[in-house]
């Protein structure tokens, strides 16, 4: 359905009703009778759709349309769309929203252009004149004639210049909001809107770096007459993040291929936003530092709670429900039961997004930062689920900070940040990350009672410095470390041992470490770590 609709530019209704007519004709006799009643309506609706401004009662047309469409769907091809349009409102909204995306190819602007010689015919002149000279010297007519042909080619190569391409481009995405792992089909229409013929046009699509092209090359070559257009499609694998398609590199050559003009064209941007799902992991083990509010972290403080801690002498004012009536029954003394207080924790999940953290074990699979961001999302959501206040921060080229909070809005905000923040892109940052400055800033921002979950592959001593620095300032640190090391070569083994030493150093300074192996689920790693800490 959407494919049929895309070419229409104004008042989508007219197009729809014409298809309604066509479909009604195709339908068999029994349904044609039913559809026949609608067809005249459809026709008037169609006529009005073109000049909707003329007729004052536009709502009528909308009604007719709304009434028509379900019948069209039922009559023609029931399998074409699963759910018929529920009502006039959504049909109207669709008609309003779609023309924006289907105005046809839009003229591009040239960002930069370079003109160069391809050196394609270099050396050819030498050969042609050599043949000519040989023909003269040996008095061979045919060889001299061969030289004439060569000269003809030389003229062909030198008289024309590379054309200046003036192109209009339209991109259509199969979906603009895919789920991670979905395949998005990109359809590119290129039209020659200039006056000159483009005999050799090479088009390379500027696919956002982090997206992998899975089907069909995002490159093509063609020849375009003025006014002619061509279409090519390819598919990309969606991954978490927001990506914009806004450029096209074209190389236009003259017919002989001696000159080439390479242009970087800026096209109308179209973007993919791919949000990561809201999924949690097993309960995240937390440290003792808590806020004054009731939550789920058992503390050493005695008071109200559910887990029994001790008995003490009754003091005036203690709640009746906490008096140990058994002991009163036994010997008549009043005693008050103490429970471990359960408090809410404030946690800030800090990501390590420095260039050094972009490590990958082997050729395939996710790199450590991707796994880290994935872990951050799960930890964040599961902490929110258990009623803690959670915030986000990162050591990145840009400032990343989400103050600790709770609730659905907070969760949505974090989801958005984790999916689309430019600093969290799957490609390493170009700029330098100023760790010390950002660390100072983080210290200022952290609440006194906040604890930190530091997600880092621990690639170097800077990351251990960060963890220790936070720890000594009174924010208990749990390091969740995606393991990106291999042990297949001596060099890799050395790197793995170095990392393992760094983790041990951290453990020695009182930092809790979750070493998350590549083939392990996060929940397993956390559970393993929790058992070790509680044992």
């Amino acid at each position: 359905m959407t494919e049929d609709d895309t070419p229409r530019s104004d008042g989508g209704r007219s197009v729809d009703t014409t298809t309604a007519e066509a479909d009604a004709v195709e339908a068999d006799a029994a349904t044609a009778a039913a559809a026949g009643a609608d067809a005249p309506d459809a026709e008037t609706g169609g006529a009005d759709g073109v000049d909707a401004g003329v007729r004052p009662a536009e709502s009528n047309a909308t009604d007719a349309f709304a009434r028509d469409e379900p019948s069209v769907e039922e009559d023609a091809e029931p399998g074409r769309r699963e759910t018929p349009t529920p009502g006039g409102d959504s049909a109207e909204a669709r008609a309003d929203s779609e023309p924006a995306a289907s105005t046809g190819p839009v003229t591009t602007t040239v960002r930069s252009a370079t003109l160069r010689s391809t050196n394609h015919w270099v050396g050819f002149a030498t050969l042609a004149f050599l043949a000519g000279g040989l023909g003269v010297a040996l008095r061979s007519r045919s060889l001299l004639l061969a030289a004439v042909v060569g000269v003809g080619y030389l003229a062909y190569a030198n008289v024309t210049e590379a054309p200046e391409p003036r192109l209009a481009v339209e991109r259509t995405l199969s979906t603009e909001r895919p789920e991670p792992g979905d395949t998005v089909e990109v359809r590119v229409v290129v039209e020659n809107v200039g006056e000159t013929v483009l005999p050799d046009l090479r088009i390379v699509e500027q696919v956002p770096e982090a997206l992998a092209v899975t089907d069909g090359p995002a490159r093509t070559a063609t020849a375009l007459r003025p006014g002619a257009r061509m279409t090519f499609t390819y598919s990309v694998l969606a991954r978490r993040g927001a990506y914009e398609f806004d450029g096209l590199t074209v190389m236009a050559r003259n017919a002989s291929g001696s000159r080439e003009r390479e242009c970087d064209l800026s096209t109308e941007p179209i973007s993919i936003t791919c949000l990561a799902p809201i999924d949690a992991t097993a309960a995240v083990p937390l440290r003792g530092l808590t806020s004054p509010y009731t939550g789920r972290v058992s503390t050493d403080t005695s008071g109200e709670g559910t887990e029994f801690a001790s008995l003490r002498e009754y003091q005036h004012g203690d709640a009746l429900s906490r008096i140990d009536w058994n002991s009163y029954a036994r010997d008549g003394t009043l005693a008050t039961m103490e429970f471990r207080e359960e408090r809410m924790a404030t946690v800030v999940v800090v990501l390590d997004l420095r260039g050094a953290a972009y490590l990958q074990a082997g050729e395939d699979g996710l790199h450590a930062v991707d796994r880290g961001i994935d872990a951050t999302r799960r930890i964040f959501n599961s902490l929110l689920d258990t009623g803690d206040r959670v915030g986000l921060a990162a050591f990145a080229s840009e400032s990343v900070w989400l103050a600790p909070g709770a609730g659905a809005t907070h969760q949505a905000r974090a989801r958005d940040l984790l999916s689309t923040h430019p600093a969290l892109s799957p490609t390493p940052p170009d700029e330098r990350v100023y760790v010390r400055w950002q660390l100072r800033r983080l210290h200022q921002r952290l609440d006194d009672d906040a604890q930190v979950v530091f997600v880092s592959p621990v690639p170097d001593d800077t990351s251990t410095l960060v963890a220790r620095s936070l720890q000594v300032r009174g924010h208990p640190v749990t390091v969740v470390s995606p393991d990106a090391t291999l042990r297949d070569t001596p060099g890799h083994t050395l790197a793995a041992i170095e990392r393992s030493n760094r983790l041990n150093d951290l453990r020695g300074s009182g930092v809790r470490v979750v070493d998350w192996a590549g083939d392990e689920r996060l929940g397993e790693a956390l559970e393993r770590a929790r058992r070790r800490w509680s044992g």
Binding site: T118, H120, G123, A125, L127, F129, A131, G132, G133, L134, G135, V136, L138, R139, S140, R141, S142, L143, L144, L145, A146, A147, V148, V149, G150, V151, G152, Y153, L154, A155, Y156, N158, V159, P199, D200, L201, R202, V204, A212, V213, T214, D215, G216, P217, R219, T220, A221, T222, A223, F232, L237, M251, A255, S256, G257, D364
Partner: protein, 167 residues
């Protein structure tokens, strides 16, 4: 990262264009000299291997070799039309080959490049044919008593003029 990698070499289609042009040249050369035909066939094979492995240098060497075959035929007093067609065929084979290599390097094996490649080869063949016919007609009808050197000097002058006009 998963996804398709770019294979930086031309597709099968390019081989066909160069192969056909080279074969035509070889057939024409065979009208004058069998040795020449052999050399042209060898040259075409080198061109094809250069196209397949996307190496400009190899294609150039192949083109040169194919042309040496044409020279053989010309010196063996082959008929002038055959030599002219063989020259055009050689140039088209080499030209299509280099074009295919540049396309392959820029766009990769997976991209569909048949249309511009065919167009390029056709344009090249047309230019060759037109100049060959022109040259032949001039040579047959022109003042044949003139020393052959004069023609060559004229040729040179024409080329220089063209280059001067272009710059």
């Amino acid at each position: 990262m998963s996804g398709t990698e770019i294979t930086r070499r031309p597709g099968r289609h390019s081989l066909v264009v160069s192969g056909v042009a080279g074969a035509t040249a070889a057939v024409m050369v065979a009208a004058g000299s069998t040795t020449g035909a052999g050399v042209t066939v060898l040259g075409t094979a080198v061109v094809l291997s250069g196209v397949h492995t996307a190496r400009h240098g190899v294609v150039d060497v192949g083109g040169l070799l194919a042309f040496v075959g044409v020279v053989f035929a010309a010196l063996a007093e082959a008929p002038a039309p055959a030599v002219l067609l063989a020259t055009a065929g050689t140039v088209v084979a080499w030209d299509a080959g280099t074009n295919a290599v540049s396309l392959g390097r820029q766009l990769g094996l997976e991209a569909d490049t048949a249309r511009p490649e065919s167009l390029h080869a056709l344009a090249g063949a047309l230019v060759g044919l037109v100049t060959a016919v022109l040259g032949l007609v001039l040579f047959e009808t022109g003042p044949t008593r003139q020393p052959i050197t004069t023609v060559f000097v004229l040729l040179l002058a024409a080329t220089l003029l063209l280059v001067a006009l272009d710059r």
